[in-house]
Symmetry: C2
Subunit: 221 residues, 2 copies
Amino acid sequence: MAKRAKKTANPRKTPEQDRSRATVEAIVEAAAHILVKYGYDAFTTNRVAERAGVSIGSLYQYFPNKDALLSELMRRHVAQIERGVEEMAALARTAPLAEVIRTGIQENVRSHLIDPELHRVLSEEVPRLGSLDWKVAFVARMEDRVRGMLEARRSETAIADTGLAAYIVTRTVEAVVHNAMREQPKALASGALADELTRMLLGFLTGKVSAAARRHSAAAE
Amino acid sequence: MAKRAKKTANPRKTPEQDRSRATVEAIVEAAAHILVKYGYDAFTTNRVAERAGVSIGSLYQYFPNKDALLSELMRRHVAQIERGVEEMAALARTAPLAEVIRTGIQENVRSHLIDPELHRVLSEEVPRLGSLDWKVAFVARMEDRVRGMLEARRSETAIADTGLAAYIVTRTVEAVVHNAMREQPKALASGALADELTRMLLGFLTGKVSAAARRHSAAAE
DNA sequence: GTATAACATGAGCAATAGCTCAGATTGACC
DNA sequence: GGTCAATCTGAGCTATTGCTCATGTTATAC
């Protein structure tokens, strides 16, 4: 490994002609391809450039260092995820709590399905860039939203510490769904996992047990 | 980075004299120290040897490669964790469900307190060794125990799919506690987080809302 | 005291990775 | 068709790291 350049590098040239824009696209696509198919160990700038059909020099004309390329990948991935979140936020104001929870979980599932393997590599294999990696920041924003919702719905819920409850709910959804992608693909696909999760969280937040969430399981006794 | 040796390496010499046993200890301690204090990037065999006050050649006399040294660190850490789990398993057969859940959570907290920083580095920074890393294996064993308990307590619970419920419960506890170590140290230390988690899981498993878990919160309305 | 095995040493090899730079090529505009 | 900037090229520099091996030192057995 050569010396790692300073973390916050000066931005490089911005592409102006179509030719160079195509180069940048090729590099980003190649980067994703290498990460997904061969993992972070194989993710070297030389290899990315080769796969992109571009010289290593070109890569460094648009990305000041390796981390900048990774950041761009993350930025694009997060942008795709965020798109769907806004719609959900609107729903959250009117719909019944059970539905809000259900939708939140489905939204989380959807975000894992955009590019599952890239998502996994970015959050598990890639070393943390700085102290705030992209996922931490994203989950923190979700936590804020959830807390706001809980506060707006105080009458429906049985929660004293909304901050703590929001924390537990967001980490739970994220962790269970994220791991289930690999470990419980069937329960995820069938909706059984989302059903159970919804039931758990609804009970937690309302202090009541509801049958509303049982959209799926025909099992029960 | 030099070529990475084959993954499963032939075992090296086992120390026979006190002198060499001390060498091995010094190496392992130095390894943990470097990992905890400077992170995985600084974890090079040369640096570990230097910190241990031992030549690089000695290190390779007892550890066939870098991964073997990491494995030994993990092995020791897991051994410390496992010790407390057995006691809990005994309790799980007789105690009320609420208490079993509470104890399980506390046990998980304890496992994160043995060497918090080492725990974090081993599970977040260190690249996965093989497809089964130590923590996945550990959590999988916990999942088995929980499922067994749920099946033995069918009368107390309202769970159709014990496998799915055990899955959700174990990932939830592990993820929430693990993240809370950094993100919610106060709520963890006060017990408030454990209270809320217990309430959530108990409600989930029994289908009833219990006040039993409210050992801590004097807040509630 | 000597032979043998256990143990320790550290210079340096081989591989590899991030990144630079001097120069070639291409395109836009007149 | 000439000019200048944008773009592209890739050999190779610099640095680092995992690990070996020839050689030296210490303990044990007799």
